[in-house]
């Protein structure tokens, strides 16, 4: 009997390094498992080997799987919250909440200021699109237009207004604006085409 217990201590000594591993260590800290190992060393049968293996699998699996699921839950909830906060930030429901923690300006204020900017740009509308044109022939074509057409082209392409918005601004009917808009474009296109033909001749 004494000999057998030295077998166990012998085994434990031979595998000392491996036993320091926390999983093996905590597995053998359970008396039943230690008992099983002891029996196994005394009498290594297939049945006992299988039993020890199974009980270890069960033990190890519980640790592995629990940590796996815990981590999954942890990171999934963090990502979920991140995504939701991002969405809440992009699609705001509250207008007078500060845009970020550093500034005090709220979304509402920004909306108000962009409106203010719009008002400012209305004053600047006297400056037409001709200052922005870089193509010489296009510029020349633009100069062929009447004052009314120039104004419509500027409002439509420099300020991005629709025909009905222009009509509202100029106190005219939308049909009239659309008509002069189309006529202005046709005039410029015709001018460009004849100009390019002229260039080909040269």
């Amino acid at each position: 009997m004494r000999n057998l217990s030295t077998d166990l201590t012998g085994y434990l000594k031979a595998n000392e390094d491996q036993l320091k591993n926390s999983i093996i260590h905590s597995f053998l800290a359970i008396p039943e498992n230690m008992e099983l190992l002891k029996q196994l060393i005394e009498d290594p049968t297939d049945h006992l080997i299988h039993q020890l293996d199974e009980s270890f699998k069960e033990f190890y699996f519980r640790i592995r799987f629990t940590s796996y699921l815990s981590k999954t839950i942890h990171f999934h909830s963090i990502n979920f919250d991140k995504r939701h906060r991002q969405n809440a930030d992009r699609f705001r429901l509250i207008l007078d909440k500060p845009l970020s923690s550093e500034t005090e300006t709220s979304f509402l204020d920004v909306l108000a200021t962009t409106e203010f900017k719009n008002e400012l740009s209305e004053i600047e509308m006297s400056f037409g699109i001709e200052d922005q044109l870089t193509n010489y022939w296009l510029y020349e074509g633009y100069r062929q237009l009447t004052e009314n057409q120039r104004q419509i082209i500027s409002l439509a392409y420099l300020h991005g207004l629709t025909d009905s918005e222009i009509a509202h601004k100029l106190n005219r009917s939308q049909q009239a604006v659309s008509k002069s808009h189309a006529r202005a474009l046709k005039k410029m296109r015709d001018f460009l085409e004849t100009a390019s033909k002229r260039e080909e001749h040269i």
């Binding site: 293996d53 519980r62 629990t66 839950i73 909830s77």
Partner: protein, 83 residues
């Protein structure tokens, strides 16, 4: 005796009841992780996590768990290569 997590997960590949019990076992962890988000989104999050767990449990390779002797061998090999 209560079923161990090992057998429950093994069975939950086919058995819905076992799957339910596994997810219930993790409900304290789920509840505590709900603190990550604000009040309105908690129910959504709880559902999302459960869906995620369902997939994890279904796809986890239970048979791949190494046995006692396998782990001992691995540890020995690692110790040898480290030297």
């Amino acid at each position: 005796m209560r079923d161990s997590l090992y057998t429950l997960v093994k069975r939950s590949k086919t058995d819905v009841q076992s799957m339910n019990r596994v997810i219930e076992m993790f409900s304290p962890k789920i509840l505590s992780s709900l603190n990550q988000t604000n009040h309105q989104d908690r129910e959504d999050l709880s559902q999302e996590i459960k869906m995620k767990l369902l997939l994890c449990i279904k796809n986890f390779d239970v048979e791949n768990t190494p046995g006692y002797f396998q782990v001992m061998e691995q540890l020995k090999e690692r110790d040898v290569t480290q030297r």
